[in-house]
């Protein structure tokens, strides 16, 4: 069973006997805290998936969590997808590499370790083909123009291959004991949900009538060609052109024997994601768009019975010292703008920050109203960018604080 609220602290003080009446509306103060250290210390958790929309700091968060877990004694491998160059360099990654490499500079005194890799989707795909087909057949597939386009440029391949690689790393971890925790970054997809659909989409396609149709000529004269089918073949050859249709048929025929194993792998990965040993973290920044995406994601994970551990709100406005309201600050700034422009500026900044905190709070309140039970951790915005181990460590400390 999926444990959607597994990481929630046992009880909220003062709420134990309160029955909920009326709409299940959550308040911000009721939102449980996400304890990241508890999550990464839990040996029962072997996969952490970081997801969220683009630009919220998913890759940085994956790397920071992986580093923190390693320095607390876990044997970790982090699978990154398309990291920014300097972030990759900070982990010693200089190119796409399908084989995890140890990261240097990690404090291993507590028995942990950190390996990192950057997904090479074409090579991952090639390796799957090579491992499943005879040498002659894989050579035939690898040289098919359809396969080449599919494996290197097709917009969904990265999602398929990220999940495939996760499955491989998991199998290797079980077999060799090299790792006890896999942290996965998800691809910067059109929608943050694409990678969840990838395995399902692949299997439903492979089961589809189209494949049978395309396979028909390769399996000898089609005796029972229905009227519908001949319309389809007619249209396909008209639209694609005869040459492309033949290439496609050759590809499908060569791939035929692999379909079964591809489907099995896709289904296995999907159930791996549903496994209670997996924990999903949704990463968002405190703005309307990212929180909307995060809400979609939370709902989708629940629908698919995937174990959501919580929400990480990245780059929230840092708090200010209490005791000075925005109005007072602005009024004083007005008075001081001639005589002491510096103090006036500080007062304006203070007021601006309070406004920002207020806006973020109301966005979070709206999120919590709809999703009251999602444990949440917040991280204040850092003044500078993250691109080396010490700053990854700092992010890890902030998220666990």
């Amino acid at each position: 069973m999926a444990r959607t609220t597994a990481r929630r602290p046992a009880r909220q003080p003062g709420r134990s006997n309160k029955a909920r009446v009326g709409p299940l509306r959550g308040r911000l103060s009721d939102v449980p805290a996400l304890d990241v250290d508890e999550l990464i210390a839990d040996r029962g958790i072997t996969i952490v998936v970081c997801c969220g929309s683009g630009g919220v700091g998913k890759t940085t968060m994956s790397a920071s969590l992986a580093l923190r877990a390693a320095e607390q004694g876990r044997k970790v491998v982090v699978l990154t997808i398309d990291p920014a160059r300097r972030l990759a360099q900070s982990m010693g990654l200089s190119e796409l590499d399908n084989d995890p490499k140890p990261v240097h500079g990690v404090d291993e005194s507590r028995g942990g370790s950190l390996d990192a890799m950057m997904l090479d989707m074409k090579r991952t795909f090639d390796e799957v083909v090579e491992s499943q087909a005879s040498p002659a057949k894989s050579a035939q597939i690898l040289s098919n123009p359809f396969y080449q386009a599919l494996s290197s440029s097709f917009a969904g391949t990265q999602e398929y291959m990220a999940m495939e690689k996760l499955g491989q790393l998991h199998a290797e971890a079980l077999r060799t004991g090299r790792w006890d925790l896999i942290v996965v970054d998800t691809p910067p997809s059109r929608s943050a949900l694409d990678f969840l659909d990838a395995p399902e989409r692949l299997s439903s396609f492979l089961d589809g009538r189209l494949i049978r149709l395309l396979l028909a000529p390769a399996r000898g004269p089609a005796r029972f060609v229905s009227a519908g089918m001949s319309v389809v073949t007619g249209v396909l050859s008209k639209v694609l052109g005869g040459r492309m249709l033949r290439d496609l048929q050759t590809f499908v025929a060569a791939f035929d024997t692999l379909f079964g194993s591809f489907r099995a792998r896709a289904e296995k990965t999907y159930s791996l994601l549903q496994d209670p040993h997996t924990a999903f973290l949704v990463i968002a920044s405190p703005d309307g768009d990212a929180l909307r995406e995060a809400a979609f994601f939370v709902e989708r994970l629940r629908e698919d019975q995937m174990p959501l551990a919580g929400l990480v709100l990245n780059r929230v406005a840092p708090t200010v010292t209490p005791g000075l309201s925005a109005q007072t600050a602005l009024a004083a700034a007005e008075r001081l703008s001639e005589d002491d422009p510096l103090t006036a500026a500080l007062l304006r900044l203070h007021a601006e920050r309070l406004d920002k905190i207020g806006r973020e709070k109301s966005l979070r309140r709206r999120f919590a109203a709809a999703h009251p039970k999602v444990p949440t951790a917040t991280i204040e915005a850092l003044a500078s960018d993250v691109h080396n181990l010490p700053s990854l460590r700092e992010v890890g400390e902030l998220v666990a604080a």
Partner: protein
């Protein structure tokens, strides 16, 4: 008509990309508003099924249909279209092959699903294909739209997206798909098309922008402008930036000033103000360093202010005016 005296820009298709999170949808929407001046008609397209345009303009989710959604900042008209891949494919088949019922048969056999989700590159060809069609469409000898603005995929996937016609050309050496791909590529590389890249003044987005400019130039696409979004205003007097960043300020003096202005502030409040100032000054220095990295790049750099109250319709018009005044579009 007054349109005869108007100078018409040769650029008809504006492709707006940028790193995720830099606000490319906001900038694309503001650009559409900016281009829609005196009677001009502009189409704003989105392709990723996110309904970002609808939420920006605060209207109901957009169907696969061109709808008027706003009056341009110069009095023209902005229409919006959310391109849906499946609908675009059926429309394409209907338009070029007159497949009414056959289209539905294809759907039943999973061909539509295959073409739009699994077949390499087809999805992107269809999406750009629709944009291509809208850009070229004309009514009564006049283009239907004076300009089309595309909210494109983020820079990380942009090259693959725009170059997909070449990718398709790799599988389809001849035939109708190849012909379609070739004519789309002709439009994309022509003087009628410009690619604009949105960034913020932070390290990773700037790096991604510089990388994207290289890649776009390699693909022979014409660069428009680099639009720097959400530029923070410097509040602290310029000569005090370093001291402020280092929290090296005269706290006693600040406390005295506050007292004079009628604010009762204890040490903690003063220290808090100094701290807020330090964070701000540090960010301004970072911003200045990143701005420096954009000096000397080939496309023009246009800066847009950070909208203090978040992005709403009023804010979009503010940004649109800034874009118009830059005279780069």
């Amino acid at each position: 008509m007054m349109s005869d005296t108007r100078t018409r820009s040769p650029v008809r298709l504006h492709i707006v990309s940028g790193k995720g999170g830099t606000g490319k949808t906001t900038v694309a929407a503001a650009l559409a508003l900016a281009l829609a001046s005196d009677g001009k008609r502009v189409l704003l397209c989105e392709i990723e099924g996110r309904q970002g345009i609808a939420s920006l303009f605060d209207v109901a989710p957009l169907p696969y249909e061109e709808r008027s959604i706003a009056v341009g900042s110069g009095g023209g008209n902005v229409c919006a279209l959310a391109i849906d891949t499946e609908a675009a494919l059926l429309e394409y088949l209907e338009m070029f092959y007159h497949l009414g019922r056959a289209g539905r048969v294809l759907d039943r056999f999973g061909v539509i699903d295959f073409a739009t989700t699994v077949a390499p590159g087809v999805r992107d060809v269809l999406l750009i294909g629709k944009v291509y069609e809208a850009t070229r469409r004309s009514e009564d000898g006049r283009p239907t739209y004076d300009a089309v603005v595309l909210d494109a995929p983020p820079t990380g996937r942009l090259g693959r997206f725009l170059n997909v016609n070449t990718e398709v050309a790799g599988i389809a050496k001849v035939g109708p798909i190849r012909r379609q791909a070739t004519s789309i590529m002709q439009l994309l590389t022509s003087a009628q098309t410009r690619v604009h890249v949105v960034t913020s003044l932070e390290e990773m987005p700037v790096q991604e922008t510089l990388d994207a400019l290289d890649e776009l130039a390699r693909l022979r696409l014409r660069l428009g402008a680099v639009i720097v979004n959400a530029v923070g205003e410097t509040h602290v007097p310029g000569d005090l930036i370093d001291e402020t960043a280092a929290s090296d300020l005269d706290e006693a003096h600040i406390a005295a000033s506050l007292k004079e202005a009628g604010v009762c502030a204890d040490e903690a409040v003063v220290a808090g103000l100094v701290n807020v100032g330090a964070q701000h000054a540090e960010r301004m220095r970072l911003q200045a360093r990143q701005r420096q990295r954009l000096v000397g790049i080939q496309p023009a750099v246009v800066e847009l202010p950070s909208l203090i109250d978040g992005v709403d319709l009023g804010g979009l018009y503010e940004l649109a005016d800034e874009l118009r005044e830059s005279q780069q579009f």
